[in-house]
């Protein structure tokens, strides 16, 4: 096993029980993602890409095969342990942002730190720092409903980054955004990647996939294509001011 693998999957199977029938979603996935890579997972709906992402994010368990996260074997574990893994290793970004509507931007960003038992003062201070880096400091006290889609996704990115994860899992991060905003979000994600964080993006948009280093296509529960993106260009804009 190579040591710089952050995510390594071997012969992964997953099926869901639907009444009497079992729906076989993942039929033996092999995957090796190195630390610091930026990878996109593509595939038509029903190809199993969301299921794969859920298993990678320890939101769901796999039936067969091996999954190593940062060289730690992930098995069926209780919820408390899974929650701790998610909190320490993984940052999630969702299509629908999934911000908590009655908490303001700062509180939303600070939330993962609450589950790390960090004091309110410290976590709010850190949240402001991350909001500032994403250019949203003056929106810190606004509720999600008062913000635009791009702003909301940037807050979600800040929330994913604040716990200093090893991997960012983004499920259709630009699905709810217009193309201009989509590119801005992708710029940010690329910058995040350049900080050394592995970024895995599930998308069905070719434009988005072509901004990652590697594109993995899922077809009916198996990997159909796994190729390095020759057109990949590092971001040259400086939206995300890295301190």
């Amino acid at each position: 096993m190579s040591n710089n693998s952050i995510i390594k999957v071997e012969g992964l199977h997953k099926s869901y029980k639907m009444g009497n029938n079992a729906l076989h979603v993942l039929k033996g996935i092999d995957l090796d993602i190195k630390a610091g890579e930026m990878v996109s997972i593509m595939g038509s709906s029903g190809s199993g890409k969301s299921t794969l992402l859920n298993i990678l994010g320890i939101l769901d368990s796999h039936d067969r095969g091996n999954y190593y996260l940062d060289n730690i074997r992930i098995e069926k574990m209780n919820e408390t342990k899974a929650a701790r893994f998610r909190n320490n290793y993984i940052g999630f970004i969702f299509q629908s942002f999934n911000l908590i509507s009655f908490k303001n931007a700062m509180e939303n960003v600070a939330l993962p730190l609450y589950y790390k038992n960090i004091s309110r003062k410290k976590r709010n201070q850190m949240a402001l720092e991350y909001l500032d880096r994403l250019g949203l400091k003056e929106w810190a006290n606004h509720l999600p409903a008062e913000l635009s889609g791009g702003q909301k996704q940037r807050i979600a990115i800040a929330r994913a980054l604040i716990s200093k994860p090893k991997v960012i899992l983004a499920d259709e991060p630009t699905g709810a955004l217009d193309s201009q905003t989509s590119f801005e979000v992708m710029d940010i994600l690329q910058e995040v990647n350049q900080m050394g964080i592995t970024v895995i993006i599930v998308t069905h948009e070719n434009d988005i996939a072509h901004r990652t280093q590697r594109i993995i296509r899922l077809r009916d529960g198996i990997i159909g294509e796994n190729k390095t993106n020759g057109n990949f260009q590092p971001v040259n804009k400086e939206i995300f001011t890295n301190s």
Binding site: L59, D60, F92, F94, Y115, K116, R159
Partner: protein
Amino acid sequence: MTGFSVAWGIFMLILLLGSGNGLQHGMENNFRGTAKNALWIWSRQTQVSYEGLQAGRRIQFTNEDYNHLVNMFYDDISNISGRFRLWGSGTVTYKDQYGDYDLEGVRPEFQHIQIVDMLQGRYLNQMDMNEHRKVAILSLPVKKALFRDEDPIGKYIRISKVPFMVVGIFENPERRDDEKIYIPVNTAQRVFNGSNQLSELAISTNALTVAENKRIEEAVRTTLMKRHRVAPDDKQAIGIWNTLEHFKQAQGVFSGIRLFVWVIGIMTIIAGIVGVSNIMIILVKERTKEIGIRKAIGATPWSVIRLVLSESVFITSVSGFLGLVFGMGLLSAVSMVLQTVAENSPNVENIFYNPTANVSVVVSALVVLIVAGLIAGFVPARKAAGIKPIEALHDE
């Protein structure tokens, strides 16, 4: 609205407990003027012929009965007094004021059996007895009628034209409007041709339990029946009112009422708990997505349970506290009104008085509240902890 049922439950609980206390205080007021272990002894006509004596014979207590009881029950009796009563027969005058009042000759020990508050001057004492002094103490209504605002101590009133010096003013806390005059019993016997007769006897025993008081009561009864040759199966000739027995009985009734009140209160609160629990379940459903987000971010099941439970405890505590405050407020208002009413009509305070919920009740109500909150939150919290983040997040 969520916590209204809980607030209502606590409100009712406090109100009911307060009312229970009020009834109990009223009952205790009834006994306040009497030593709790007193025996009141009176005589009537015999119902059964015995030892050649006809039925319908009138039993008359005398000083000999008194002396006999004093000697015989030396260990059991703490105070004993003969009572020589003149029912409204003595017209009492002071200057141009006059009235008919209950006149009673008693011993100084009587103050420990029929307890009165001395407002002025002193009670009758042993010197009065020894010297057959013509002294009297008056209840407050008598003093007001005869003396108005004048200081009565040392003044002479005439009872059936015999002058008595007033040495004290008292008030019977049990019956404030009692119009009564006490004089020394032997003076009464001498002045009103009673020779050695006594109308009644009153004893306060040193018994601590109902059973012991009952034993003394029976022993006294048997002794008196023997002395007066009353048939052993004659239940009517000699009557004894056992205060302790009745006091304990009443107390038993009231602890029963209190238990009943608690049961009703708890039932009401349970209804409230079910209501809150239901609403919390709906709340958890509404917040499924939020809980899913929290879990994806790293919330452990335990932290989710804590989130829901603390909310549920918060709702029940706040609403319960409101109920508590309103209940206490109403009680103290009622209590104040009752006190004002009682000033004018003393009977009220013997029925319902000072309906308060004390500290222990409030503390136990608060404990009940927190427990209620925990119980109400338990099912919803379990539901919330069981939410799967993938399902919650894909539930658009």
